[in-house]
């Protein structure tokens, strides 16, 4: 019995040391990322604050863009989203909506609303996809830039590949059909391509529209939702985009460009074979494949995150929807890291292989597992009577302070740079949520992410249904 106890004692001691090391390293990494992000955003603002983007609109030399919006059962938002896309401020662009075999009346709404007519437009299958049932264009001159493709259901990646096949221009912008791009988002996001020919992909920031007033496909008043869940997600998005992606972008090791808003050079994406069909993390998977291609062929390249072209999206407002979303994201992360496991710690891939991929493995993917194990060990130690409550309490306080520090840091970064929430009360609420998310919300999302790993091991591959409330019902100010 005493041997068993001493083994348990040894294990708990080893685990405690491991957790302390893990905790120290993760917080050091977050702190460095916050610092890099601050410097990068300052540099970005200095470069772009006085930039006159109108000249991009007026110039003949501007690189044209095809905007690809895959839609699956998006009847609630689709007409408003497409209107918003058609009104984007850009010189030469086309909007391609891909109806991915929706079961609702998404296609009919589009046909009626935009006076569409089936055409015999040429379809060249550069990338293999599910069959295309029809290509529609509008009979009205004001919608002449709109193309709607109806296809057999094959998932988001397949729909995007169809969009790439149909697109005419050298750059394509992949967005979610349920999101809203700001008027100047394309201008700001395409500038890096024009500044540097080696830029192959650019990601923009995704912000949460719940609580904002949306009129005619435009966010006219930015405000926080009255509910807890969307505000927690606003803080999370600040951390992910303003801190995380900004820092990785500075090191040219950005592994994720959100599926909700990313611009890519078409010829390079065609070279890597387009989006991969059999993964739920197709956005991250594509970016890693782009990194691999460029590094394996030793070509200079840049994959960039730009922090102010904004894409507004609707965040889940119920726990069940949020759980599905997080589960999908985490399975996507796990799947992508498994597919590209050879890049881990591989010096051939530079920053991507030595730092970015290991970061995602140890801190993003395994973080919740280690956190979960920590809770189990605490309970076990409590039962065994070996728990030092003073140390535990101190550790808890330190972890909450750290967690809060990074969240508040991201909120401050937003406030001093882009300042999109004009009401002081919203700022106070954001800081408040950055504090209370540590008591329940964080643990819940960690639990869902552990569940996602189990689901992945069980072979769950589907996206899971998402229900949209629609932008029209948001923001009753």
């Amino acid at each position: 019995m005493s041997i068993l106890l001493s083994i348990l004692d040894f294990l708990s001691d080893a685990f405690t040391r491991f957790v302390i090391f893990y905790f120290a390293s993760i917080n050091l990494v977050y702190f460095l990322m916050l610092l890099f992000s601050f410097l990068s955003i300052r540099f970005y603002l200095r470069r772009n604050l006085l930039c006159d983007y109108r000249i991009i609109v007026q110039s003949e030399f501007t690189t044209p863009v095809s905007v690809l919006a895959p839609a699956y059962n998006e009847s609630v938002n689709i007409s408003e989203s497409v209107h918003s896309l058609l009104k984007l401020n850009y010189s030469t662009m086309e909007v391609i909506v891909i109806n991915d075999g929706s079961k609702d009346d998404t296609l009919n709404i589009l046909i009626q609303h935009f006076h569409l007519r089936k055409t015999r437009r040429l379809y060249v299958a550069h990338l293999p996809t599910q069959p295309v049932r029809g290509i529609y264009t509008s009979q009205k001159a004001e919608y002449k830039n709109l193309v709607v493709v109806d296809k057999v259901n094959g998932g988001k990646a397949d729909a995007l590949n169809v969009g790439i096949n149909v697109s005419r221009y050298p750059l394509f912008c992949a967005i979610d059909a349920d999101s809203i791009l700001e008027d100047d988002a394309l201008l700001k996001a395409t500038k890096p391509f024009m500044e540097d020919d080696t830029t192959i992909a650019v990601g923009g920031i995704v912000r949460i529209a719940n609580g904002c007033t949306v009129q005619r496909g435009r966010v006219t008043d930015v405000a926080l939702s009255g509910k807890f869940l969307p505000v927690f997600q606003v803080v999370e998005y600040f951390r992910a985009f303003l801190t995380g992606r900004m820092a990785w972008s500075a090191a040219n090791a950005l592994l994720i460009i959100s599926g909700a808003f990313g611009i890519f050079k078409k010829n390079v994406v065609l070279e890597v074979g387009g989006y991969k069909h059999d993964t739920v993390g197709e956005d991250m998977e594509l970016v890693i494949r782009l990194h691999r291609l460029m590094r394996e062929t030793k070509r200079p390249y840049r994959i960039i995150f730009v922090p102010d072209p904004v894409c507004w999206t609707e965040a889940p407002e119920t726990l069940s929807m949020l759980r599905r979303q997080r589960n999908r994201w985490h399975r996507g992360l796990l799947d992508t890291l498994l597919i590209h496991r050879t890049i881990l710690f591989n010096p051939k891939y530079g920053m991507v292989g030595l730092f970015a991929a290991p970061y995602f493995l140890f801190y993003e993917l395994l973080g919740p597992v280690i956190e979960g194990m920590g809770y189990i060990v605490v309970i076990a130690m409590l039962l065994l009577g070996t728990l030092n409550t003073d140390i535990l309490l101190l550790f808890f306080i330190v972890s909450v302070v750290y967690g809060m520090m990074f969240s508040v840091g991201a909120v401050i970064l937003e406030e001093i740079s882009f300042h999109r929430y004009p009401r002081t009360m919203d700022l106070v609420r954001l800081i408040g949520h950055a504090f209370i998310e540590n008591f329940g919300y964080r643990q819940l999302t960690a639990f869902w992410r552990i569940q996602a790993i189990i689901d992945y091991a069980r072979g769950v591959k589907h996206w899971g249904p998402m229900q949209r409330k629609g932008f029209a019902s948001h923001g009753q100010h």
Partner: protein, 381 residues
């Protein structure tokens, strides 16, 4: 270990809290300063506008600039004196507001008003300040000063701006190049274009905006750059010549084109197409047989831009019997080739070749969408 962690945590926390407080204090200070600046700008704007528009006793603007400037100086004297009698802080904020107000105003005025404004800018000593800022250690201050000297047409800044064409930051180089062209006009085009070691698309967009409005007078300068074969800026210059549309440069382009690297040759072919001179037809026709597909597509596009009726049989042949990408390019060229080209496209649509029909429809469709008609009605017509 835990104590060490606690110490590190505390240190980081202190740093972050201190930074946060510092940033917030800075933000509050910046807001207050901006508010004061705004108020002072409005105040100076009210005082300044009448001085810029005031009728002077004798109109010497056209005849004797010295006398004219003497009169203008007399107008601004009271405002300058008011600075002499204010406190150092007030004078500093006042000058900052006045300078910003003048720079804002420079975007909206021209002619004699602009002349007076530029004089006032010098009279209040801002030119020295701008030149000082052009030599600042901070790149963003240098870049901003480039914009400002261009707005106020500060010729004294030309030597410093020329040095800044070699700046380590591209943003500064772009601003310096555009400012030089804005200030010195056509004369600056050749030195700027031969000096730059690389022109990105973004820089090209900026420079185009400054150069294209100059029109035909600038063609000689750009042609000169092309003749000197300054390779880094060659593509950009050839594109510019295509956009400017002066066919006198066609012999030069035809002479240099065969010796250019592939990418520049492709740009040259497109530019020749844009220029629309029929003497280019043999060269572009040759390029349609090039071994590189990229070049063949460029030649097909150029043929469409050229709008020559003799090209139609060639384009039709490509639209029916080439790889699909070239077929699409040929159909587009026919579409652009005026009425006879579109008739040829309709013929393709009515042919038995299914691919040719689809390719033709790709472009014909636009026509019936624009004409608000149906394909049937269009083709019956």
């Amino acid at each position: 270990m835990f104590v060490f962690l606690l110490i590190v945590t505390t240190c980081i926390l202190v740093v972050v809290v201190a930074t946060t407080i510092g940033l917030l204090v800075h933000k509050i200070y910046a807001i207050a300063r901006d508010r004061i600046l705004q108020r002072r700008q409005e105040q100076y704007g009210t005082e300044f506008h009448p001085l810029l528009l005031e009728e002077l006793p004798t109109q010497y603007f056209e005849t004797d600039r010295d006398i004219y400037l003497e009169q203008v100086r007399y107008l601004f004297e009271p405002l300058r004196d008011s600075f002499q009698h204010s406190s150092i802080l007030s004078r500093r904020i006042g000058r900052m507001a006045l300078r910003k107000m003048m720079l804002d105003l420079a975007r909206d005025v021209d002619g004699e008003t602009m002349y007076r404004l530029c004089f006032a800018f010098e009279y209040f000593g801002f030119i020295d300040l701008e030149i000082e800022q052009l030599q600042s250690k901070n790149w963003w201050i240098r870049a901003n000063a480039c914009r400002e000297v261009a707005l106020m047409k500060v010729r004294e800044a030309i030597p410093v701006l020329t040095d800044l064409l070699d700046d380590e930051y591209e943003d500064v180089r772009i601003e310096a190049a555009q400012s030089l062209i804005d200030i010195a006009g056509v004369d600056a085009v050749y030195p700027v274009l031969t000096h730059l070691s690389h022109i990105s698309v973004w820089m090209g967009i900026r420079l185009t905006r400054a150069i294209l409005p100059m029109g035909i007078p600038v063609v000689g300068e750009i042609e000169h750059v092309v003749k000197t074969q300054t390779l880094p800026t060659m593509s950009f210059c050839i594109e510019l010549l295509g956009e400017l549309g002066d066919i006198s440069v066609v012999p030069t382009l035809l002479a240099i084109a065969p010796g250019l690297p592939l990418e520049q040759q492709r740009i040259c072919v497109i530019a020749l197409g844009k220029l629309g001179d029929p003497t280019c037809l043999p060269f572009i026709t040759d390029m349609m047989q090039h071994h590189q597909q990229e070049m063949r597509i460029a030649a097909v596009r150029a043929m469409g831009l050229l709008g020559d009726g003799n090209a139609i049989p060639l384009l039709k042949a490509i639209a029916t019997g080439a790889p699909i990408v070239e077929r699409i390019a040929a159909a587009e060229a026919l579409w652009r080739n005026d009425i006879s080209g579109r008739d040829a496209l309709v013929e393709l649509f009515l042919s038995n070749d299914e691919v040719a029909r689809t390719v033709a429809l790709e472009f014909l469709e636009e026509q019936y969408v624009k004409a608000k008609t149906t394909p049937g009605a269009l083709y019956q017509a």
